[in-house]
Structure formats: C-alpha cells, structure tokens
C-alpha cells in the first residue's frame, strides 16, 4: 500500500513539475507571438487565452470571412443602442458631417486627418457579409468602404505598433490586433447596401470586422490610434467590452 502511494505521489509530483514548467514555457511563447488577449486575467482569462491563441494560429494566413450574393441580403437590419447624444456629434450630424475628419495618430510616422471626400477617393472595397450580434440574431448586408490596411499604409505604422485602437463619438472604444487590422476585409465603411451609412448604423464612418461578432465593428468613428500597449487606455483591458463584462476577442 505504501509503495503504491509513494509511487503515486512520485508520479503526481512529476506531472506537477512538468505541468508548471510547461505552462511557463507556453506563456513565454504565447506572449512573444501575440497569443495572449488583453483580458487574460482571472479565471475566465484561461478560456479566453486558449480560444484566442488557437484561433490566431489557425487564422494566421488571413482566411476570408464568407461573402454572399446580393439575393441573400436581409430585409431587416436591427441595431443596438442610440447614436451619440453629445453636442459635438449632434452638431456634425446636423451639418451632414461636412467638417468631420478622421484622425489617425499614435505610433505612425505620418499622422493623418482625413475628410470624407478624401476617404471616398481612396481605393474602395464592397463586400456582402454576415453580421451576428452577441445576443444571437444576425443579418447579411453589403458594405462599402476603404480597407483599414490602406489607411495604415498611408500613415506608415511604426514597427513597434501592436494594436489599432478605435475611438468613436461615444464611449464604445475598442481595439484590434495587427492580424485583424491588416486583414483585407477589415473596412472603414461609409456605405451600406449602396446608400450612405444610415445614422443608427454608425454614420459617418464605422469599422467592419466580419470575422468577429458585431460589437467589434465600432460605429461613429472619430479617431484611430496605433499603440504598442493597451495597458494605459481605459482599464487596460483592450476595449470597453471587458469593462462591461464582454470578451475583448469576439471571433467566438
């Protein structure tokens, strides 16, 4: 009996040592290759990190979200939340966004301030994609805009840039890692179903991230910042979503 127990203890200790050193090594590799999400803390962080890391490894070749035919576009396009009520946004809305500009700054060698007319002269992309709300409902719509990669190229992102942060006119700021930011389907969209972007859908400009849930597609954009760390923004969790109890990564 004692021999069995001591052998069992030995095996358990062996597994324990191997497990701890294995975890330490995995942690070093994961942070080096950007496989740890900003909301990795706490017990839920273990699941988040496993999901984010495994999907990032699977998707490293810029896999494309499914695209659809015109005939598959939905008839109903629900939205959550109201347009920003603050005076700055309301004034721009009344003036048809004539003086609106998109600011691009942070870790870039060529900071930008772009008008809507300029944006519309850049190469555009139109895509019909599926958008699912984290609540469970979904729709298919056509979006037209400038690939974010074009703007990042114009602004010349510095090598130390690791995240792109999006600030709208309300408090729903968010961020993307570089893999998602440079993805060809990640758009700054100014049109929906061939029309100017409707106000409740994020006028004048919104992000579209078709490989993640709807809440990552920030509406009512005002400023884009490139950064090497998310620690100093908000509560340091990468977006306002984890502060409200929702995960930062939403590829699901």
């Amino acid at each position: 009996m004692s021999r069995v127990l001591s052998r069992r203890r030995l095996i358990t200790a062996g597994f324990g040592v191997a497990g701890v050193s294995g975890l330490a090594a995995a942690n070093r590799i994961a942070s080096r290759y950007g496989l740890i999400p900003p909301d990795h803390g706490g017990i839920y962080g273990i699941g988040e990190t496993l999901t984010y890391a495994s999907q990032r490894i699977l998707m490293s070749h810029h896999s494309l979200a499914r695209e659809f035919n015109r005939s598959q576009i939905s008839n109903v396009f629900p939205v959550n939340g109201d347009p920003p009520q603050n005076p700055a946004y309301q004034r721009l809305l009344r003036q048809g966004f004539a003086s609106w500009r998109l600011v691009v700054d942070g870790l870039v060698s060529n900071p930008l301030s772009i008008s809507m007319a300029e944006l519309k002269r850049y190469p555009s992309r139109t895509q019909i994609t599926h958008q699912a709300c984290e609540e469970g409902w979904s729709f298919i719509a056509e979006w037209t805009g400038v690939p974010l990669s074009h703007i990042l190229n114009l602004a010349r992102v510095l090598p130390q840039g690791r995240y792109v942060v999006f600030f709208p006119f309300d408090e729903s700021w968010d961020s993307l890692d570089m893999l998602e930011a440079w993805h060809p389907q990640t758009l700054l969209a100014y049109a929906m179903n061939g029309q100017e972007l409707p106000t409740p859908h994020g006028a004048p400009l919104r992000l579209r991230v078709p490989r993640q849930l709807g809440y990552k597609s920030v509406k009512y954009l005002s400023r884009i910042t490139v950064t090497d760390t998310l620690k100093n923004i908000g509560k340091g969790l990468g977006s306002v979503s984890p502060e409200w109890g929702y995960s930062w990564y939403a590829g699901i």
Partner: protein, 193 residues
Amino acid sequence: MRHTLFVRATHWIHTAGFVALAVSGVAILLAHPRLYWGETGSVGTGSLLDLPLPFVLVGQSGWGRYLHFLSAWVCVINGSLYAVFGLSTRHFGQNMAQNYNVLQRLTYLVVVFALFPLMLWTGFAMSPALTSVFPALVTILGGQQSARTIHFFAAGALMLFLLVHITMVYRTGFAKHLRAMTTGHVASGKERA
C-alpha cells in the same frame, strides 16, 4: 466491477464542466430566446420557434459567454482524454459490454461519439473566425442560424440524457453509485445506471 481512478476523475470533471456549460448556455440563450433556420434571423423576421422565455438583456450573456468558453475547454480537454483512454483500454468495448444492456450502451455511445461532437461542431459553425478557415463547417448545416438551432436541440437532448441518467442512478441506489463513482468502492448489487 470497480470504476478506475481515471474514469472517476474524468466523470466528475465532466460533471462540473457540463453544469457550467448548461447554466451559461441558458444565460446566453435568454438574450434572444428565438430560433431561426438558414443564415440569418432577428426580431422583425420570421422565426422557426419562439421559446416561451423572456428576453433578458442585463449583461448575463457577457459572463455567460466567458463561462461557456472556459467550461467548453474543460469538457473538450477532459472529454478527449476520456475518449483516448476509453479506446486504448477497451473501456468502451469490454467494460461496457459486461455491465450494461444494449440500450444503455447505445445511448452512452451516441452521447459520447455523436451528441458531444455535434455540440462542438455546431458551436464552431457559429464562429465567423473559424468558418473563415473552414466554411464547410457552417454551409453543410444550412447557415449560421441553423447551426445555432441545432446547437440548442442537441443541448436539449443532452439535458434529457442527464435527466434519465440521474433517474436511473437514483432508482438503483443513489448513495451506492455516488460512492462507487467517487471512491471506487465496489457495490455488491448488479444493477448499474
């Protein structure tokens, strides 16, 4: 027959993971207790089934999702170890043949090798990230909302299995079975659940 330490450990880890998945699954469902068929669906479109449940939007789908994914990882890792162990030690063949009748064996095999994999598949099919890599995951099922609906009904089937499993454990000696699955103590009776 005595339950091995491996079977006992994976059984209780799976129990914890399954309960967490069920609780968080209901939390997520309550954000939109309406089911659709095809790619899309929302308030304002026709539905396949309106569940007699209230729409609850108090943020429970946030922690629901965090918990759902954490417990899904626990069940996937634990379940994979169990399946590999079961196949390599002939747990599914010999042990089960000796102790369970045909209906029981068939049910267990369907749960382990059909229902749990179907839950995973339909879960993956709802991920726009994973379907960008493997579009067939969702197209075979007829769309993202179809995947969500199948996920719901497969979860219901697992709940039904759990109910029958607990009922049978109860009817053939709850304390005896609980002890056998926890300490490995061999029961004298022949019936098993």
